[in-house]
């Protein structure tokens, strides 16, 4: 079976959301916390319109996909209510390699966004994100519209 991956546009969007959260947190908490913050916002937003169970299913699937790309994410778990455990601790396990830590979180977020895109399409996914983040965090894409991964 071919390995599925997210498109560069979605990865870029995930990175931008994390960067935005990182900026909001004034980088005091680091990039993994920013990824966690993105995750929490997505959880809140998706659970509100689709229910916690729907979010948990998506998040679990996203994590499984992300783990094949970033094995360190095997330490991360999704609980029954859709919250995530182990993502914040990940950076301490990999020491000072902050870029790598940021990448692990971005992979998970990108996978989650990728699933949303698959099920809801680009337009609705962006609507959902615009509801949770200011437009500037979503729309200043240089790569244009998303394309199929």
């Amino acid at each position: 079976m071919p390995k599925m991956s997210t498109s560069p546009e979605i990865r870029e969007l995930a990175a931008r959301l994390i960067a935005h959260e990182s900026g909001v947190g004034k980088s005091s908490e680091g990039t993994d916390s920013a990824a966690l913050s993105v995750y929490k916002k997505l959880r809140q937003s998706i659970s509100a319109f689709a229910g916690a169970a729907a979010f948990e299913s998506l998040a679990f699937r996203a994590l499984m996909q992300a783990q094949s790309e970033a094995p360190r994410l095997r330490a991360v778990q999704i609980t029954e209510d859709g919250s995530i455990e182990g993502l914040a601790e990940l950076k301490f396990q990999i020491g000072d390699d902050m870029d790598l830590a940021g990448e692990e979180g971005a992979i998970l977020i990108a996978r989650l966004l990728g699933l949303l895109q698959i099920f809801l399409g680009e337009a609705l996914t962006l609507s959902l994100l615009r509801d949770a983040w200011p437009a500037t965090a979503i729309d200043d894409r240089s790569s244009g519209n998303w394309r199929k991964s």
Partner: protein, 502 residues
């Protein structure tokens, strides 16, 4: 007594083509409505169309999903419809999932959550999908009744028009308190008739305004639901005053037989067996109309439009130019699963689009075959509604019908529809000498004089041509096997008697 103004109930567009007419002009604002039906009957799609037609960022729609269809999957599928505008989410349309509250708490908590969201958003429209799953296990009937009552009151107070969607069976209509509280009750049905699916919609209840009673056909296409009113959307329109103008057939001798032509707004039936020239006559009628600037519609069921136009060209009748000029529409209606209402809608759309004055239905047998089997049983009744509606707006209809040739009877139609027609022209074969010749007679012309003559005609390269010479020397022409009054005389061949045309 002082006259004071009554409250005005605004009517909101349903977003469903054809449904506004059925509900009496639109859905009453602030009404509390139920959409009921079996799974797959189109309930969610109907609610979505209403939501997309009415929600604005200032007065958004709140769409509560409960247990049942996942909101993600619902949106995945619903966005395939053309009415679905993603730009309306989330500012104008907000989806809120209530599963957790329903699963973990009681109806009071559900009401509290809905109220909280409504207070926050000030919505114009509220949908609960599926309401049935929310109230499946109330503690008691009183508990359910109180919940519905409070929900209806609360949403009306917040000036929201509400839809509760539920999978209800028709036998629940009597006992379920929700149907008592509701202002509007929309019931969607889906039945299988042989190999075809027939979808029907009924407005069982609608407070405050008159809806069109009965079952209305609807179809779900890429554009969503389209409803077809039993009255074809014509009840709201003023009857058109039809002048008693005479319309030419394009066959001078036939016009004379009709005392100057067909009266405008009449329904004409041309009946005859195969090959007698019904379609030719119909084509001449429509071509004559376009020639003098009267737009027309031809609804064909047995051949493709291009073939129809080419056949007309072989008779020297140009249908291609009026088509290009927008004066003629040849409708080919997809066969086998149509309802009369859908066919009517297509014809009406055509009539409105080009301002058609003449309509040809060629043929009624083809029309019947194009219908879903479930609609064929009601064909005569449907035809009555259609003819009544169209002639009411001044369209002159010519229908062709094939009748079995009999040499002992003289039937007008196999559908017993002659009472629907103002005028009947009968074509038939007669056996004279060693030839099968053709005769034409005007059987009926409601409210007008017509020739009583039985005229012989030929189908030539210029279409139907009525011969000058009368078959006065024959008796029993309509039997198909006439006898010469003077058996000693030899029969005259018709080809010697074709009149010259201008």
């Amino acid at each position: 007594m002082k006259t004071e103004k009554k409250v005005t109930i605004n009517k909101l567009p349903t977003g469903v083509p054809g449904l506004d007419e059925i509900v009496g002009g639109g859905l009453p604002e602030y009404s509390f409505n139920i959409i009921a039906g079996a799974p797959g009957s189109g309930k969610t799609t109907l609610a979505h169309q209403f939501v997309f037609a009415n929600a604005t960022p200032e007065r958004p729609a709140l769409y509560f999903t409960v247990l049942g269809e996942s909101a993600i999957k619902m949106l995945r599928y619903q966005q395939q419809y053309t009415f679905f505008d993603p730009a309306k989410l989330p500012d104008a349309i907000r989806f809120i999932n209530l599963s957790q509250v329903v699963l973990e708490k009681d109806l009071g908590a559900v009401l509290e959550e809905i109220t909280k969201q409504v207070e926050k958003a000030n919505p114009a429209v509220v949908v609960v999908d599926s309401f049935r799953t929310m109230v499946r296990r109330p503690k008691s009937d009183m508990d359910l009744q109180a919940f519905i009552q409070r929900l209806a009151l609360s949403l009306a107070s917040w000036q929201a028009t509400t839809f509760l969607i539920g999978e209800y069976a028709e036998d629940e209509l009597r006992d379920n308190p929700i149907f008592t509280v509701a202002d509007g009750l929309f019931w969607l049905r889906q039945t299988t008739e042989r190999n075809s699916i027939v979808r029907k919609l009924q407005i069982i209840k609608l407070r405050g305004q008159a809806s069109v009673p009965g079952l209305h056909t609807f179809r779900i296409t890429d554009a969503g639901i389209q409803a077809f009113s039993r009255t074809f959307g014509l009840t709201a329109r003023a009857k058109k005053a039809v002048a008693q103008r005479r319309l030419s057939f394009g066959v001078p001798e036939l016009d004379k037989m009709l005392d100057g032509g067909v009266r405008e707004g009449d329904s004409v039936l041309v009946a005859g067996s195969s090959g007698t020239g019904k379609s030719v006559l119909a084509t001449q009628f429509i071509a004559e109309g376009t020639r003098i600037g009267e737009p027309g519609i031809v609804a064909v069921f047995e051949e493709r439009p291009q073939a129809y136009v080419e056949r007309a060209a072989s008779l020297g009748l140009d249908l291609e130019t009026p088509q290009k000029e927008g004066k003629l529409t040849v409708l080919y209606l997809r066969p086998l699963d149509l309802s009369v209402d859908e066919t009517m809608q297509s014809i009406l759309d055509g009539v409105q689009k080009i301002g058609a004055k003449r309509l040809v239905i060629d043929s009624l047998a083809g029309f019947e075959m194009a219908l879903s089997p479930g609609f064929r049983a009601d064909f005569r009744e449907s035809l009555y509604r259609m003819i009544f509606a169209l002639t009411g707006i001044g369209v002159t209809i010519l229908s062709t019908v094939e009748v079995d040739e009999s040499f002992t009877e003289f039937p007008f139609s196999t559908y017993s529809i002659s009472f629907l027609c103002d005028d009947i022209i009968r074509l038939r074969y007669v056996s004279i000498g060693a030839q099968l010749r053709k005769i034409m007679v005007v059987i009926k012309m409601r409210g007008g004089n017509h020739a009583k003559d039985i005229r012989e005609y030929e189908i030539t390269q210029k279409g139907v041509v009525i011969l000058d010479t009368r078959l006065e020397d024959y008796q029993g022409l309509i039997s198909g096997i006439p006898a010469h009054t003077d058996p000693t005389k030899k029969d005259e061949a018709p080809s010697d008697r074709i009149p010259s045309r201008k």
